[in-house]
Symmetry: C2
Subunit: 488 residues, 2 copies
């Protein structure tokens, strides 16, 4: 192969993994340790056992539930057992949305039950439910374009399908349907909104997920009018009209029933809604840096899950991968130069409350945090390593990339998209990383009852830990502090 | 290849499909018509549309429900629309078991909901449910061997796993667990019985199914004591203690919770039970034979389904395959020599009530029925053709086998195991056939909410129809009446 000048590689933000590096920006001894950590994790990381423990001993752990508190105690105990130096519970104000009973049935022309789940933050129906004719839309744009008269007094049904992609690329588009159907339909006079599940499977599992974008509240006068202000100042809202997701087979069935040409009526009863505040916690495990303890490398996942499954791929796996990476570093004879922090974030699912609370509690993050990465895309193999750092830091990052390359992880670009919980702190100006997992089947299970431990492969988790442990160790041990990109 | 003498082939009950047949026992013109019917069905049989119609316009259709009556009307109308000469509703006395609400949760050591379905004929729990410690058994033999003291006052949990086999061979063994757990556990003093679902999937769908073998009632004094006698004299019973199936992931979870070593307690509430009699119907479509109308070739499936899914593979597919086969023959310029009958049997799932009623209504079946075959093993490709006929009939049957062979259907033996609904009539001494389907994934969906239309492949249905239409036409047109095996 032709060797390119090093300056070109840096400018392009790509590591030429097979190219010999004349002088590494990371000490040879550190590289050797990282390789040992990597290979040892690959041979057996313990991450599966952690995933099993959380999903079995806690199970489903919806933010604000009794299981949320048990999950926090579990994380605290697990960090201690794994040899972390310091475990901190960081308060998070959590609004509690309760899922009671849910039922739906076609009442005519062919009476039959439908399998659905209320979307998170759905408002409830009146007791006894509502019954109305269905009006179907192929996608959210068709609903937007519909005249009010076509929608008034009806249940809107948006049957938009999600695309299967390794990088989850279909989610961004489809998830807009979830957050908008009830708002757009409700404003046109609909009495409820049903959507086709945001999922790529054809199993009869509805996929739940947040039905409101809280980020929109500040931008939208109508949303603002009905917003609820939490004690920490956060704004939330329930959906304008009750909102639920049908499983893909049920959505297909409703498509077919509508296609028969007779009016299709549905009875829907959702006993769900906002019930008040809960005081939860981010759980933080630290390995305190031996030279620069104030400089933090942060990895983590989210501790909460949706309620139908046991949150194995979303996100016990991420918790386990990053805890196991920290545990491996904890066993080294000495701590890395900087602090390694593993965060089990509270309440990601219902609005990133843990991530926002973390950013609020660490306003100086741009100075104190040198690298952040989150594992929250299931339990598939990592195939790419992207960064979002200053150009000066690229030699260090590329050297890390070379240690990951034997794991079949390609060096991506320097425009990493970061995990959701670390989004708020990333915005403060913190160097960020993405270790991208193969999510080709992630949305088969995501937010369903079928997100259970059996969907997790121990060997794949080991590869994830191998990547995280090498990455985190090297970021914490590197000679030069990694800096964020200069603002343009 | 080496050609074997024809007498050897006949004696062995095997057709050597590639071997030239000197003189066919079926007229060449009939063979030619059968081949045309076969190839035309393969190119597009209409069976998928029938499956879609039944699963969409009726949906789930549990015996004795409102949907049962709708299914009967549907079948009657469909037979007429497909050109059958005569449609008969044959009364069937159906005992109605109602599934109300069901819930279960681990209450300690790690509170969490469990996903389960009551088994058919389960007795209910008292209102408010029951709560007890779980005692786990690896298989039904371990439960049988347990001392009463280990079981008394507890919920028995039998975690026996089912084997995946193309021919469904794992079902026979596993299904014994379903019919026995509550009886054996209850007699030892258990308060309820949970089983691992009889299913090969790892999706979080429980598999329902009958929890009592009604055939045992006559043989078992204790069962007889609590039996209910229906107006037609049939004996039924509910389970001795409440009985339900956990999904495979839930059974795995319970295995893990038990393995933690602390007592595991479960709260179970099942509002289910026997509610009375219903008067349902087998629906019979006939193409009346042009020469020997009193001689009947019978094919069919069962019209009812369990309630969680829409009964697409179990057994809308079988109904559709056999209806479509009949419809193709109905379009021929003349009727075959004998009568072709397609039966949509009532209430297979809850105790073969339709099949028994048919046998009772046709006590002369050994004289009048010349060939019977049922399609009730999903929507997979047919790979084998077995018979159970007199030795004299083997030349005719082997000639039929040769017409099926190009469909990648091998000629099996002369000891066919027959479908469940035709079991009772087979016992009267009727020649029977099995067109065996590939059921490698059948028990992934069987008796679950996930048995929906999307699991059915139209092309595979066409191959099934191609086989049934050729078989049924040739059996109805053959020179010689097919006779049953001589009794030994």
């Amino acid at each position: 192969m032709r060797l390119l000048p090093a300056c070109f590689l840096i400018a392009a933000g790509f590591a030429q993994a097979q190219a010999p590096v004349a002088s590494s920006p990371i000490a040879e001894t550190a590289i050797a340790t990282a390789k040992q950590l990597r290979d040892s994790a690959l041979a057996g990381s313990g991450a599966y056992a952690i995933t099993e423990s959380l999903t079995t001993e806690v199970g489903a752990r919806m933010a604000g539930s009794e299981a949320d508190a048990r999950a926090v105690r579990w994380a605290e105990a697990k960090f201690k057992a794994l040899g972390f130096d310091r475990v901190t519970l960081e308060p998070v104000t959590i609004p509690v949305w309760r899922r009671g009973t849910e039922s739906a049935a076609v009442t005519s022309p062919a009476p039959q039950k439908l399998s659905l789940l209320a979307l998170g933050w759905s408002s409830g129906t009146p007791k006894g439910g509502i019954e109305a004719e269905v009006v179907r839309f192929e996608n959210i744009d068709a609903l937007k374009a519909a005249p009010d008269a076509a929608v008034q007094g009806r249940i809107v049904f948006v049957s938009q399908k999600m695309t299967r992609r390794r990088d989850g690329g279909g989610y961004g588009t489809a998830v807009g349907v979830r957050a908008q159907a009830a708002e757009i339909g409700g404003r046109k006079g609909a009495v409820a909104a049903l959507i086709r599940s945001i999922g790529t499977d054809n199993d009869r599992f509805p996929h739940t997920g947040g039905g409101v974008w809280f980020g929109q509240i500040a931008l939208d006068a109508e949303l603002r009018k009905r917003a609820i202000t939490l004690s920490d100042g956060s704004l939330i809202a329930t959906t304008l009209v009750p909102a639920a997701a049908l499983s893909n087979p049920d959505a297909d069935q409703l498509d077919r029933l509508v296609a028969l040409g007779q009016p299709v009526r549905i009875k829907l009863e959702l006993d769900v809604g906002y019930v008040g505040e809960y005081h939860g916690h981010n759980v933080i495990g630290d390995l305190i840096g031996r030279e620069r303890p104030e400089e933090i490398v942060l990895i983590g996942g989210h501790l909460d899950s949706w309620d139908p499954g046991t949150g194995a791929i979303d996100d016990a796996a991420g918790i386990a991968i990053t805890m196991a990476a920290g545990a491996a570093i904890a066993k080294l004879p000495e701590r890395p130069r900087r602090t390694l922090r593993v965060v089990a974030f509270a309440d990601e699912e219902q609005g990133l409350f843990g991530g926002y609370a973390y950013a609020k509690a660490h306003p100086d993050a741009a100075r104190t945090h040198v690298a952040i990465a989150e594992s929250d895309f299931g339990a598939g193999l990592i195939y790419r390593f992207d960064s979002n750092v200053a150009a000066d830091a690229l030699p260090t990052v590329n050297a890390i990339g070379q240690v990951l390359y034997p794991l079949d992880i390609e060096r991506g670009g320097n425009d990493a998209r970061v995990g959701s919980d670390i989004g708020p702190i990333h915005k403060l100006g913190v160097p960020a990383f993405a270790l991208s997992q193969d999510g080709i089947d992630y949305f088969d299970y995501h937010h369903t009852a079928n997100d259970t431990l059996d969907k997790v492969d121990a060997k794949k988790l080991d590869q994830n830990v191998a990547a995280y442990v090498a990455f985190a160790y090297l970021a914490a041990e590197a000679e030069h502090k990694i800096e964020a990109p200069k603002k343009p």
